[in-house]
Symmetry: D2
Subunit: 361 residues, 4 copies
């Protein structure tokens, strides 16, 4: 299913080489002003061709809003935006019909859909489908910002080169602003050169590299979310795993915290004026599924781009024998760079859902 949500209903559609892709977002409040420039800025951060570290394909990816807006405001009716597919070179994908690409959805999708799925460019599995997620996220983000909530992410690592982590108890609005408008977002910008060098090295060697993204949500008041299956972790992760290449997620101290003792990992409460805060933020702003008022922080693991130029071993499902495959076409050597705004967008959509459930929207 490519539809999601309870209070906010998101429906993503489209295939890489079909007529178009898009999103329907139902349940948005009416009367919200949506700034088109800010929308396009977010779309642009994800769009290919903007950055040497990403694929050289040129897409315009300009969304057309079909419904749900009147002038610059939401009407409360479902907001649908579509993006036309252009500049597709379907001939690049011929061999895949019978030879599934390692680490891609080709084989699993073939079985799931009895061979009827559109496999050109990855079809509905294509990373191109993250464009409507960014669109939906850009809409939600503006609604959140009006309520003092900011969402921003940065490249936490590329291969073994790491950025600093968020200081979970002190994240400035300036940092959030900078990261959420950047195309190569880092807390410590001096790491950019090293990361780019590694990515370029992978590209030149016909290889790819994975990485991690760290995302923060600031300004979320305490008491949002619910226990068990509607906690902030559940809601965010149910969306995040819809993003291609994500293979892991951790909140707060996450996997590192699992090696600690309670006396180390527990975050002490204190009063900062009238506000209850914690001195550390190993809980990632979430306790029992519910916001504590501290920044929500999570990290996602992105696997290396599966499409690599090197010849790989695979099978031929028509001839039912082992085979070799050389993937042609243009592919990001490191999907992490362009995935940053996608992760932010998923977080923004999730928080919007949670706020609406809490009756705060």
């Amino acid at each position: 299913m490519s539809s999601w949500g309870n209070c906010i209903r998101l429906s993503i559609f489209g295939e890489s080489h079909g007529n178009g892709i898009g999103a329907v977002i139902d349940g948005l409040p009416a009367g919200e002003m949506i700034d088109t420039e800010a929308l396009l800025l977010q779309m642009g951060r994800r769009a290919p061709g903007k950055d040497k570290a990403a694929t050289p394909r040129l897409e315009k990816d300009l969304p057309e809003i079909l419904s749900g807006m009147l002038g610059d405001r939401t009407t409360g009716a479902p907001l649908c935006a579509i993006i036309r597919n252009t500049n597709t070179r379907s001939q690049d994908y011929g061999e895949m019909m019978t030879r599934p690409r390692p680490a891609h959805a080709d084989y699993a999708g073939y079985i799931r859909y009895n061979g009827f799925n559109d496999i050109r460019g990855g079809g509905h599995f294509s990373a191109r489908l993250t464009a409507p997620i960014v669109f939906a996220g850009a809409v939600c983000r503006q609604i959140l910002e009006r309520r003092g909530i900011m969402v921003a992410a940065h490249i936490a690592s590329v291969g073994d080169i790491r950025d600093e982590r968020f200081n979970g108890t002190d994240i400035s609005p300036e940092l959030m602003k900078r990261l959420s408008t950047s195309t190569f977002g880092l807390i410590d910008q001096t790491r950019e050169q090293q990361m780019r060098a590694l990515i370029e090295e992978c590209r030149l060697s016909g290889d790819s590299i994975g990485g991690t993204i760290e995302c923060a949500v600031t300004g979320l008041s305490a008491g949002i979310g619910s226990p068990m299956f509607y906690g902030i972790e559940n809601v965010i992760s149910s969306l995040i795993f819809g993003i291609p290449a994500v293979k892991g997620i951790e909140f707060g101290s996450g996997f590192d915290g699992s090696a600690l003792r309670g006396s180390e990992n527990n975050d002490e409460f204190y009063y900062d004026g009238d506000t209850v805060k914690t001195r550390t933020n190993n809980h990632g702003g979430i306790l029992g599924g519910i916001s504590s008022g501290m920044p929500v922080i999570f990290r996602t693991a992105m696997k290396p781009t599966p499409s690599i130029a090197r010849e790989q071993k695979t099978v031929d499902i028509k001839e039912k024998k082992d085979a070799l495959l050389s993937i042609k076409g243009r592919h990001d050597p490191c999907i992490v760079v362009r995935a940053v705004p996608v992760i932010e967008s998923a977080a923004a959509i999730a928080i919007t859902e949670l706020l609406k459930e809490a009756g705060k929207l």
Copy 2:
């Protein structure tokens, strides 16, 4: 929300010190034989008091089935089981009314429910609520086993002491059987002593320790799950984060894989007779959200038990000032041990949901 699922609807209810807890499972196929001994064995693996590494409280935790079974078979109507609360010592929890325990849901829950939530024993946030999850999982597990699908987990680490990982391309039914009936499940059983020593050390020092759990699902055929928001990762994680203390999840090579190159992380396909397999299993049995036919493998990060005997700093929300807190009561120094069957159960429920959606149940 403590209800979950689309094709299988799970509703968990109860509070630690209320009259009882339980689960309703709707959408199960009719005519499934459910072995009570096997149910109780699973309940027993989670129950406290069985193992020195866990809390010494004695609970019977015997579920009473109110509906959905006739004799030893499911009727197809909602299956409801309840477990009475007994042996509760509410007086242990007095101080918490005003002084939220660090790393617990007390404070977030207080804000969320305007102070009306039942906080005795953690109320609805209590780890005791995992008992109905294990019940539901034990039912689903039997339905899955009848179809050749096994679910088993082991303690992957306690603090910095690690078990071996599953060999993702070769997991024997014997290992699955052993782990899924064990109360201290390890692949390499020689690590048990070390882990127990560490847990005991933490207990004696009034502290606690976190850990990780690795879970495998074998026998799942290729083609189960869907792209985007109904992938196996999404469905499993939406349940897993309902388990107290889980702060992270990763599938296949997960976070480690994010540091690799595509040429290292991609799993090559090959024919093993008529069956398509992969030579490695970095994808954790899931590609594009859909099963590949290889074992599904994931790891979860469990934070150290927040309740520790040592005095901690917190706030007094009535007096609105900083305060100290000493938690009384009996608590697991390492929740990981008893969480193993809970993780398995969540996986079993998730796979049952996915199978039903695929029309295979």
Copy 3:
């Protein structure tokens, strides 16, 4: 599926002759005071044995609350109540195993569940399952009343004997109060004798009789509900058809209105002080799925009780031949009388869901 709802999640479980029946209600606001006497009064209105027009079975039907309440207030966690099954005479149902009762769910259920469903007393299809609906409705009703919203229904007809209809533009709180606490609710109480006589005549002749129920919701402000699939009509009817024997529903002028001209059926707006009202209420308080501020009014058609004493023709599904059937046991000759509080309850639950979705709860 016996689970329902989006913002409020209702899960109904149980079978007529199993261990017990009950309901889980998730998503209720915390801190709501629930008056037990008022709860039991509503349960009593539905309970059999209270009225000669209904079945002489004696059930206590006393619900036990397992969770979600602390003292007399909701905690915000799922509220679960169970009712034990007692006084069941399963031997009355032997013949039905092979000979499905006409107009009952026996045959359809047999096919649906491959013969594994519990058919004693109708199993999960039993009208007894309306007891937890009344429980849930009684809880919701109190939450609504605190916000000025009242729900009441009356017997609109038994066979061809009709009560007056609600005056859709003027329904007094006194009438609402009287009807919502009555066990034989009529606007024009002089019709009671006639209706009772008809029911008694049917009983004596081993027959049964159908009827209609009209329900009103007053005090609902304008602007609740949504277009298309989440309108008030959709939400109410999705619950109402869960009540056994309901075969139709109409809002406002309903089927009668479909024979009218626009100039007759359109309700003119006017200002009553600052409030927009309509001079007539053919729209039943709902326009475009959304409340207009006028009373919500709907009628449901209840078929005659299928269980009649007379010998009926049916089939023997074991012997695969036509057969005769005499239904033993004690059955309501007119289910309409006891269904009144069930209809009210469904309406109360639906309105609670809609209010929560609108952020008003």
Copy 4:
């Protein structure tokens, strides 16, 4: 919410005078051949301007499929179709901004959306939004027909002029075929002239007229659907009330049946060869929410078109006083005629959902 469904997810978007309208259908099986001619035939039955009894507006209403199809087959990915809005005369709607049309959603929508909804042409409440429903229904219909299931409806009444009803125990495929391709579907075609005369009379007098539609589903095997809240009645009605002007629905003998005795309304079972059938079909093919194998039959009440040429009393919500309103623009004097394929479509979508839930798709 304008999204619907559990196994099949339908999302309808658009506003009458916005850029476009459309539907996303998620969860369809892959590999289903969809005949475009048959699709357009169904779209044409609903389209205005085809029949004198309907509005003279000319719309092309040609859907463009953006995704989910490859050649003439479904891919299994979400199927999205859009329809551009053209030929809109927004100036006709100026007065409505402040003067809500009686019996329209204008006032309720204004309150619901704080005045931000797009009211031109009814916005998202417009009957034009039934076009995507017909599109989705036309897709589902082809999937059903391939499995022997047919859906057809006829005009059961216009004002007080009535067509025959379906013979619930004997509906020929020829009749189903004729009705499901007709633009003025009647069982007894001799009634057409009378009905048209009444509609024309209403049109000439600046008035409108309501009516009823009866729909049948044949070929549905026994055992589809579930008790309580997922019965066929619940699922169908949850969709049907999404169609503008529907104010009532009844299954089988419905409201008439509520005046009968059990001995009259009960349908006796018998064996027709190996098949269990009923001699009458007062149950409308549904028992306990589950199909009996007999035709599913229901009727809907459609109110008269609210837009009438005559001057009507209303309020001016800006000036906060009573006011007069003359509705300009072109409107159907009887919406029933064009609503027939919409009702069929809703039924087809509902049955597709139910089949998928039952694992039969």
